[in-house]
Symmetry: D3
Subunit: 142 residues, 6 copies
Amino acid sequence: MPYLTQKVAFSASHFYWNPRFSDDENQRIFGACANTQGHGHNYQVEVCLQGKIDPKTGMVINFFDLEPILAQVILKPLDHQNLNTQVPYFQNKIPTLENIACYIWEHLSPPIRQAGIKLHRIKVIENPSLYVEYDGKADLPC
Amino acid sequence: MPYLTQKVAFSASHFYWNPRFSDDENQRIFGACANTQGHGHNYQVEVCLQGKIDPKTGMVINFFDLEPILAQVILKPLDHQNLNTQVPYFQNKIPTLENIACYIWEHLSPPIRQAGIKLHRIKVIENPSLYVEYDGKADLPC
Amino acid sequence: MPYLTQKVAFSASHFYWNPRFSDDENQRIFGACANTQGHGHNYQVEVCLQGKIDPKTGMVINFFDLEPILAQVILKPLDHQNLNTQVPYFQNKIPTLENIACYIWEHLSPPIRQAGIKLHRIKVIENPSLYVEYDGKADLPC
Amino acid sequence: MPYLTQKVAFSASHFYWNPRFSDDENQRIFGACANTQGHGHNYQVEVCLQGKIDPKTGMVINFFDLEPILAQVILKPLDHQNLNTQVPYFQNKIPTLENIACYIWEHLSPPIRQAGIKLHRIKVIENPSLYVEYDGKADLPC
Amino acid sequence: MPYLTQKVAFSASHFYWNPRFSDDENQRIFGACANTQGHGHNYQVEVCLQGKIDPKTGMVINFFDLEPILAQVILKPLDHQNLNTQVPYFQNKIPTLENIACYIWEHLSPPIRQAGIKLHRIKVIENPSLYVEYDGKADLPC
Amino acid sequence: MPYLTQKVAFSASHFYWNPRFSDDENQRIFGACANTQGHGHNYQVEVCLQGKIDPKTGMVINFFDLEPILAQVILKPLDHQNLNTQVPYFQNKIPTLENIACYIWEHLSPPIRQAGIKLHRIKVIENPSLYVEYDGKADLPC
């Protein structure tokens, strides 16, 4: 069964701060990311789906069916948002790339499963030098 | 054993139309892609091969040996062609990205095997936001 | 005055054929592009506008005002079309990258001028190795 | 005289809000960018310099001399910052791409001139579809 | 457990020459790469790590801990070097992309393991059309 | 008149060393580039031509006519070469990006002029962060 990957992009701001660390520890561990006024990124998400090709359409999934799921699960809650202050999931979790991948995996798996196919892997890109992949093969400490 | 990936590119036109669907269904399911005059893409193909490194050359496969296979199997039949009208494989199969990946996998596996190495995976990219991968691990409904 | 550039992308098919040339001449001059069944590309267009920054918005032009112009002038007539058979402009003109740039410049200048700013330059990209730019500084033989 | 271009990248958050507009006007004009909690981007800056080639080094400017200027003028004040709340220049100016280009041009011209060469043009890229260029040829309403 | 990938880049020169081959064989097998004066590339390395997310930092590994490892193992010995004449590993081994991947895997695995996480895969890119991946799942003839 | 740009790529090695400088000066001024064993890059060259559109072909220049010029002037003398030791032009000139642009401009202008069009500008890219442009508008100290 082939793997179909669709990319979407969103812009968001975030910062790294653990209230259990002292100010100095936050600075030492998170560096410039500890600025609580926030900075931001153009995030890209690659959603990799696995499924049978429907012989009537030649497709694993029709983009017209996939697009509203991606809009609802990724773009609506994350695009043009401050991840720390506006996404409840990150109230007690630092919005690192790793945890953003958790967020997307957890919220995307159910509607993709409901659409009859399998979410195989996601890739979240923060900048041209850094990305995280997750394929659900082990429990995440989310 | 390492994986060596070589990319090639081709330009082709295609359209999506299932003669068993009504005109309205074709429009609804395939949208702008249902225009039977065709549109097109710059396709990129990443061919991922797995094999031992030949200690005499330091290579999994010499590009001079790989290039004529890619030219014969991918470029000659697909480049600057109308996939619907000029590639017999797509006479009864919609030339979606998924089915193009089928075509390439089926035609590329035998000559790569004959060259003594293994076709591990192919990736076919239609535009910067969409690609399909296939690794032959399950039967494709081709 | 700064230059603001917005990119848009469209997919289209085309072929090169001059009915005044013999078949052999068409083959010799246009090579694989002479296949009248058509091939295609993911075209990208960079629209470069020059204007004053509106101090109330900090913008040369609001994207909400620019987007419908680009949709009307570029996407609607060209996206998912066969340029040779479905765009009247190319009935007697070969849809080369140069002539596509002509088409876009001629159709985009009036609505941009009406929006109160200046179309400074367009760039049309056919593939990663080839692009045409035009800035309207000399008459095009369109 | 040739043009040498060096790129640098920074991450920052921003939002668009004009206090003289009503809330509704801010929403209508700036859309998702009006979220005052901020969102962010990976900005790229291309600094284009014009100068004679020093025959002793073969260079317009030595990167070892250019790098501290770019670090001081672009990275230190803008990287990992909230442009609205942490960069005084944007206290009364909306941090659009156009105004960020103003900021960089105004602050970069003097030290580049002092280094004996000419700042020819800057390009600031907000995302793969949007960039602003400025060459100082007209007064900016900064 | 998620996969975190960090990219680094280096520039190096190399050439392909097997002293056990005749001059003619070297030319025939390696083509332009047999020029013993060397040519070069901008290599990119993608280092893919697998590990648990530390709930205190939200990270698989802190970049401040990873960066010195990559600098020590990849950049210091390879960047701005002639791989054939200046890297002892390649004294009796042709510095092909496959063997460069061997070098990096062998030298990177121990310090990454010492840092408490797992080196999952590396990808070494020689140019936009060619890359090698290695995941240590079989013995390399290094 | 429109501008048509064609890209070509070549791989070469080089180093920076001025024999009139002391060893210490070479190290201080050129840093890692002073390693006389050489390092290398994947260079990209964008050749921008200006000319009338031939109404019979719709083209500024036919690629079949341009390609042999680029192969003869750029690829044959520079690709897979050590610029310092194998290109006579750089015997007394440091092969910086600025001087490589000189080389290409000087050698490319005559054959392009003979082909009846104008070489408008060249751009030579050394890595994703650095490029030089030259348009022949002032004498180069070549």
